[in-house]
Symmetry: C2
Subunit: 478 residues, 2 copies
């Protein structure tokens, strides 16, 4: 939100006048429309009302606005609306198109975080700064040059990164890939976008987990897909449900997040994996395996991806740097049959012409460096530490009021509230108390569930945040 500069040479009222003139010229306030009141603007700009009055006087003297007593201040129609001059109806364009807006809860969360940076953030699904390998990346950047080539790169992705991923996938995830079967994308997000936009057609039926990260993405509806649910219990989905949906709705693709699922944290059991693979092979049904979390397992050997057991080439595998290193690099990857990689490379050429090569170089170096293994080990330990802190705080503050199954990996904690409180009320009261989370309904679940991302908070904020959350709950239970 724009505010005038306190230590500028330009007077506050002049800054405000210029700012308003610009917004008018951009069509935000069309000719004849009513401007917000002096009082409202003074609040917004954090200035005295008299400053806004001076700014209005200035604009009036320029013929840009007109005031009539009792009917407020309007954008002049003689200056801006001289008969043949029309500003496009931008709001109609903003409402047009195929692309659905983000869910109201997610927009509310973004807005609240923008307005109050002091909120304790259990909503943003990412690592805290100290968990990201910032020193390691800084060290790599100080040792390497990045500017030998700065032209358009292969839209399939920087070749050395694809080569580094072949090694990484083989060493860490037991997936045998070739560089030609890898597509580099802007996080897993863009892999999902490309699949839903370019491989499926409007009207196609697909199956997704319930609850699931996919529900938080209007992307699926924007592509015109019909969504069918695969309920998740403590061991993941029931593979037989896929067969039922296939028979009933001819689903064309299945989207799964089998390791430390977002939001529930569950891992699909080994026994169900086997049945799942049998069923999808029987049906010739492709599965998208979205796997950003498997390497975050807190203890023991991380679960392997489904893709490592995929002998028929039925799985499109998606990985990401976001949850194991740094989400701001925007590096993700897809492993797919070459025909699919070629198709998506061709399409993305239309969308963004590929990613910047500098972060791709950094990612390739980091994966191949001696930093990567130790970074992962320490990440896993610290995530476990934060999860334990969260559980401790929840048990202290909300014992008896919540139910959960503690996750063994991932960044999130899923829990059910026993008292019956509507999502929207709880979210608003929590914001008031200074803490924010994602209501479960964003992921398609019933009301009364909450996702806490504990990975993003400082350890000392976890206890404090849960205390604030508990206060919100107690308020609403009164």
């Amino acid at each position: 939100m724009w505010k005038p500069e306190r230590n500028s040479k330009k007077a506050l009222y002049e800054q405000i006048a210029d700012h308003l003139e610009q917004r008018i010229s951009y069509g935000e306030f069309p000719p004849g429309s009513l401007l917000p009141s002096e009082r409202k603007l003074a609040e917004q700009f954090e200035v005295n009302r008299s400053t806004v009055i001076s700014a209005f006087a200035e604009l009036r003297s320029l013929g840009i606005i007109e005031s009539r007593t009792g009917s407020g201040t309007r954008v002049s129609t003689s200056k801006w609306g001289a008969t043949p001059k029309h500003t496009p109806n931008w709001s109609r364009f903003a409402e047009g198109g195929n692309f659905l807006p983000n869910l109201p809860f997610l927009r509310r969360i973004r807005e609240a975080l923008g307005q109050d940076p002091s909120l304790i953030d259990f909503a943003s699904g990412e690592l805290s700064g100290d968990l990201a390998p910032t020193d390691e990346i800084a060290a790599l950047m100080s040792r390497n040059a990045y500017t030998s080539y700065l032209g358009y790169d292969n839209p399939q992705g920087f070749t050395p990164l694809r080569e580094a991923l072949v090694q990484y996938l083989s060493n860490y995830r037991r997936i045998q890939a070739t560089e030609s079967s890898i597509l580099i994308t802007s996080g897993s997000q863009q892999s999902l976008f490309l699949i839903t936009q370019c491989l499926l057609s409007p009207g196609d039926a697909v199956a997704i987990e319930d609850p699931s990260y996919c529900y938080s993405l209007p992307m699926f509806q924007s592509a015109g897909l019909r969504l069918f649910r695969l309920p998740v219990d403590n061991h993941g989905i029931q593979p037989e449900d896929i067969r039922v949906l296939y028979k009933k709705h001819r689903i064309k693709m299945v989207f799964l997040n089998p390791n430390y699922q977002n939001p529930t944290g569950t891992v699909l059991s080994v026994e169900r994996r086997k049945r799942l693979l049998d069923i999808i092979c029987e049906l010739g049904l492709p599965v998208v395996e979205d796997d950003p979390y498997s390497l975050t397992s807190y203890e023991g050997v991380p679960p392997l991806p489904l893709k490592s057991m995929d002998t028929t080439g039925s799985i499109l595998y998606i990985g990401s740097f976001s949850k194991i290193a740094a989400s701001g690099l925007r590096i993700g990857w897809m492993v797919a049959p070459r025909s699919i990689v070629e198709r998506l490379t061709d399409a993305r050429q239309q969308m963004d012409f590929g990613l910047s090569i500098i972060p791709q170089q950094i990612a390739a170096q980091f994966l191949q460096s001696s930093y990567f293994g130790p970074h992962l080990e320490s990440l896993r330990i610290q995530l476990q530490f934060k999860r334990d802190l969260l559980i401790e705080s929840l048990e202290k503050e909300l014992s008896g009021l919540i139910e959960y199954a503690a996750p063994e990996g991932g960044l999130h904690f899923w829990c059910k509230l026993i008292p019956d409180i509507p999502d929207a009320k709880l979210l608003e009261e929590s914001i008031k108390q200074g803490i924010i989370f994602v209501p479960g309904s964003v992921y398609g679940s019933d009301s009364g569930y909450v996702r806490f991302t504990f990975a993003r908070s400082k350890p000392e904020d976890i206890e404090l945040g849960i205390a604030k959350f508990a206060k919100a709950i107690r308020r609403l239970m009164e």
Copy 2:
């Protein structure tokens, strides 16, 4: 294209067997399908036929393929096709979706460049490495730290870059913007993608220049838009044509590239600009001004954008780093009314979650550094030098066979061939001679036009390339 490694420890035939097994397991060759012949594969892999025969023997012994005399080699149905096992029909998915594939000529050009890196490249629309500010960017990168924050950034774009662009737009392009009216995108390409996907609806009519870069983008058709043409002469489009199209087809938006237009190099005359602005204000019709080239003008004061004259906020302005600095940074920007910026930010959140912050930091630093002005000056001189070299070579080799109007800015040279030679023939013969260009029909023009990008070649290759091109023409005229 995959090839076995000559100096690997693994025998060539083993590498080939592994490679084929993998492609089979990925569903590229479904159970029962015919493999390419031994001879064909030997050619592709650049090995002796006997090596492929050994690889096939290996695969046969594993039960992966079956050969029958006289009917070639097939993927085994007993191993891969065991009744309940099916690989998804990937080719159907690759053909699905809304997104149209790239134009055949563009795919052919990409393929030819991939196969023969020694081709003299007059096709890729970008700067040569030595014209990009590589040393300057390297110097900035050695002085600055980039890792203080590596989390998810504002999907509207890195705030300091938007602030730097406010300055840049004001100083260099006389556009008054605020950071809240700027959206950072992956080159201008993504700005165009967001506009066509999110602000317009299938069936909407839009006007584009003829010829135009837009025709090279199936993006417009993929969004279901109906395209109407605004013919370009030596002074750009005729503004009155817009009114005609509006009356006839209710066009919803106009796409223009008024400064050193791609591909023709023309500049919309000042007098037509004024009429254009009057007409679009009269109709309340929004214009997308795609302006990657205006600062490349070889001499004098660069033409200002239409947006600098836009008093009604009717223009969505798009700029890019690609043609004035480095296309591989993938940095572009859009200036738009806040409601539009908000809408597109929300939508792009679904697509890629924003750009990597490191290239955005680099771009912000470069724009604000003392390198930027001098870099632009030297770029303009060197582009003029290359254009002159091209004209000299064309006059020497093809005098009387071509017609053109020399461009005063930009990276491209548009010319008409007087002899009547079909585009496809000329392209193939040129590739044979060792030079590649873009046929004019890619931009929607009639056959017989050629776009040469001279900015990308080394000076010494310009003369050589045109000599090769002339040879191709003479061959086809025989």
